[in-house]
């Protein structure tokens, strides 16, 4: 079983600070392995444990993303492919997924490709489905668990808003994973960290993946971000600290005025 996990290093947006104008301070934000990707990797490692095989990880990112890749190796991945080239600067999801799909085909074939359902920075959820489309292979998003692999098929549990579906796909296939509530992430062990240093770490440039170079980077990106600004603020209203009954009555009066209760 040859397995690939697509990963991304992201800024840790759970602890963001703002300046006095309400603008997010991006400097000093920690870089972490996207949590969705870590879950995807842990699913991949569990599958390797059950069925044998090899798990590689791949990222398309500047050199500093090596930290997140090393974490993947320390957690148990066997091999890392790090695609890094200025040619990919300014890539949107279409250009990123195109380059990734080429690198996947170059280093593959793989039986299963794992990805995080989304990354916590851009939050688009595009990369998994789009890599699958470029490769013309089936995919499922919102995968909370891989149930089994059998007779050249993979069965996954995919979340709906109000339940889930069990879906079987012919391999090769791509699964975009979302951690279940209360998933306990593993921490790399000391021996894992030491072993990671001797695992194959393969750097790739734009020239190492075949394909239409006009579709790389900014040139290959149909979308443009034209403006960024802090989200509109809601004003702080009336906060009561005194007697509960009185506070409640005041609020209910207001709800009546606004005809929320009639």
């Amino acid at each position: 079983m040859k397995i690939l996990v697509l990963v991304k290093q992201v800024p840790d947006t759970t602890d963001v600070k703002f300046n006095e104008n309400g603008v997010m301070i991006r400097e000093g934000l920690q870089s972490i392995l996207n949590m969705f990707d870590q879950f995807a990797l842990e699913e991949a490692l569990r599958i390797r444990e059950m069925y044998g095989g090899e798990v590689s990880v791949m990222t398309l990112a500047p050199e500093q993303a090596k930290t997140a890749m090393q974490k993947c190796l320390a957690l148990g991945a066997d091999k890392a492919y790090h695609i890094s080239d200025r040619a990919f600067g300014g890539s949107d999801t279409l250009a990123t997924s195109y380059a990734l799909s080429l690198a996947v085909q170059k280093t593959g074939p793989y039986d299963i490709i794992f990805a995080g359902n989304q990354a916590t920075d851009g939050d688009t959820g595009h990369i998994g489905p789009q890599v699958a489309e470029w490769m013309k292979i089936p995919h499922t998003s919102y995968v909370e668990r891989v149930e089994k692999i059998e007779n050249g098929t993979i069965t996954v549990k995919s979340l709906l808003e109000d339940g889930y579906r069990m879906i079987e796909m012919k391999l090769p296939a791509l699964v975009a994973c979302i951690p279940p509530p209360n998933f306990e992430y593993s921490n790399p062990s000391m021996s894992g960290i030491i072993k990671a240093k001797n695992k194959p770490y393969i750097w790739m440039k734009a020239d190492d993946i075949d394909g239409d170079k006009s579709k790389f980077g900014l040139n290959g990106s149909p979308t443009r971000v034209v403006k960024m600004y802090p989200p509109p603020k809601r004003e702080r209203g009336q906060i009561f600290t005194g007697d509960y009954s009185e506070s409640v009555r005041k609020i209910i009066e207001h709800l009546k005025e606004k005809k929320v209760i009639e």
Partner: protein
Amino acid sequence: MNIDEYRGILVVGEVYDGKVRPVTYQLISKAREMASSLNTKLSAVLMGNNISQYANDMIAYGADTAYIMEDKVLESYVSELYASVLARFIESIKPEIVLIPATHTGREYGPRIAAYLQTGMTADCTDLQIRNGKFIQIRPAYGGNIMGEIITPNHRPQIATVRPNVFKVGNYDKQRKGETVKVKPDMSNINIRTMIKDIVKTTVTGTKKVDEARVVVSGGRGIGSKEGFSILQDLADLLGGAVGASRVAVELGWMPKSAQVGQSGLTVAPDLYIAVGISGTIQHIVGMKDSKIIIAINKDPNAPIFNIADFGIVGDYREIIPIFIEELKKELKK
């Protein structure tokens, strides 16, 4: 690509459990405004089986043309099938803008369509504007900490997904004239390698859907236990609302995932949102900040939720909610 060949707006509708998802009409209503300011036509498409009765509703909400694609095979949703059939359809009618619901399904087949057509896509838009004839797609990034404006200047169609309840449904005009067109889905040479083995619903039937309720009472870590939610349910019942939850409350197993409000859950915009024992992380706030009125109840006077609340009470919900219920009952009796 000659972008001038692309004209009009297309809304992709969704049928779920045999019914049209409300987001379909929300998107048609919004697209109606956009089509008017672009002085162009609005179409909407629905895929499934035995769904032609919905064409009139799509027209009543503002579509000029309602496309109906029916086939037995389309009855159950499969991403690779829907993506291919829709992409081929879009290629055939060449709209300049395509809006897709950012549901679990739309976020699955949508990006495939954009890759198939090799065009730009913007996910999870919270606003769409037409400015000087240009289509501006507005969305949060970095966990809701930043808003970005995105354009697709030289590729068509410009595709955006939009979460349910970001836009409100507009006028339903029964007299509105439009055209219904039945389209035979092009399924030639599509190799379907995906099979649905089972569908399981975990939402208890009879309970109100959080993203469709007029009033949402949500609980977080401060509720303290699964049992604590029963009083929230009492309050919600009294107000004809639904009970939601923060991510933490879901992770602790107090509430099902289907009730989760926030970035990795539902986006809601009810008339009244009552946040109980929820501190108000940015991830939660992005999912409910467009509610008309927000009430926060929290022990911690410094909880960030108070900064966006119209009203807040600092204190123990175990004492405050019963008072709330009692006072409300008095009101409702009047």
